[in-house]
């Protein structure tokens, strides 16, 4: 039932995006010294959001027609992170990855915070606390 609340849907999508990005950052750091490894990153969440919102909306001329939601989280894609490549073909920079890790943490907290305040909103609409 939470799926129908736009705010929660978006927070969930953001959390999914950030968890995938987290995996990529962890993989980059683990492979920081693997020869020939290329660092990967995610497209920003805002971009996947915008991309899916740009699609043609379905027209609803009858109340029995299904309406598309305002947006749907597009499948985020992994992209290659640009950066200098060291002589052994590895393009991971630990400093860059630390910045990404900090971004991941911030985004994760943001999505959790939104989710939590949405829960609070529902709770107070039920008249509790």
């Amino acid at each position: 039932m939470f799926e129908n609340i736009e705010m929660m849907r978006m927070a969930r999508a953001m959390g999914q995006h950030v968890s995938q990005r987290h995996v990529l950052v962890a993989r980059n750091i683990a492979n920081a010294d693997t020869p020939g490894y290329r660092a990967a990153d995610m497209q920003p969440f805002a971009e996947s959001y915008r991309r899916s919102a740009a699609g043609d909306p379905l027209r609803t001329t009858s109340h029995r027609h299904l309406a598309l939601p305002e947006w749907s989280p597009g499948a985020p894609r992994a992209i290659q992170a640009e950066g200098p490549v060291s002589p052994n073909g590895n393009s991971v920079s630990l400093e860059e990855e630390m910045v990404r890790a900090a971004e991941v943490k911030r985004e994760h907290e943001l999505s959790l915070g939104i989710y939590r305040s949405a829960l609070d909103l529902m709770r107070s609409s039920l008249g509790r606390r």
């Binding site: 995996v23 010294d33 693997t34």
Partner: protein, 130 residues
């Protein structure tokens, strides 16, 4: 929302590989003065499972540095040959030190990632506890 298993496993694989590298570096340093000792090298490669790369890293097979051993002139050395030369080890302490420093730095980065994953999982669970 977050799958806590995979990033933890990735960070752990990185730490395992780096500590193996650090172990070989320590062996090299300990044997810097052993005559005839060849420097041990370890390469990193991506772990493959069922033909697909899992993203984890693992230390590959240990190899010996095949660069020529330096010949040292010291007739009083017990291993010296008729001409007074013996073969020393091809360990360069400066290189080993730099290698150890780099391994330690990468290990720390993995450790920090591990810690962050744990924190993120904990804050996710806090949502349930309310």
């Amino acid at each position: 929302m977050t799958d806590p298993i995979s990033p933890l496993r990735l960070a752990a694989s990185g730490m395992r590989a780096q500590s193996e590298r650090l172990r070989h570096t320590a062996e090299n340093m300990a044997n810097a003065d052993t005559p005839g000792y060849r420097r041990k090298l370890v390469t990193f490669e991506q772990a493959v499972q069922f033909g697909r790369s899992t993203g984890e890293v693992e230390a590959g097979r240990m190899r010996l540095d095949q660069s020529p051993l330096p010949r040292v002139f010291d007739p009083s050395h017990p291993m010296a040959n008729d001409e007074g030369y013996y073969e020393a080890s091809n360990v360069d302490l400066v290189i080993e030190l730099a290698d150890a420093r780099e391994a330690g730095r990468s290990y720390e980065a993995n450790l920090r990632m591990f810690e962050q994953t744990r924190q993120m999982g904990a804050s996710l669970l806090d949502l349930l506890r309310r």
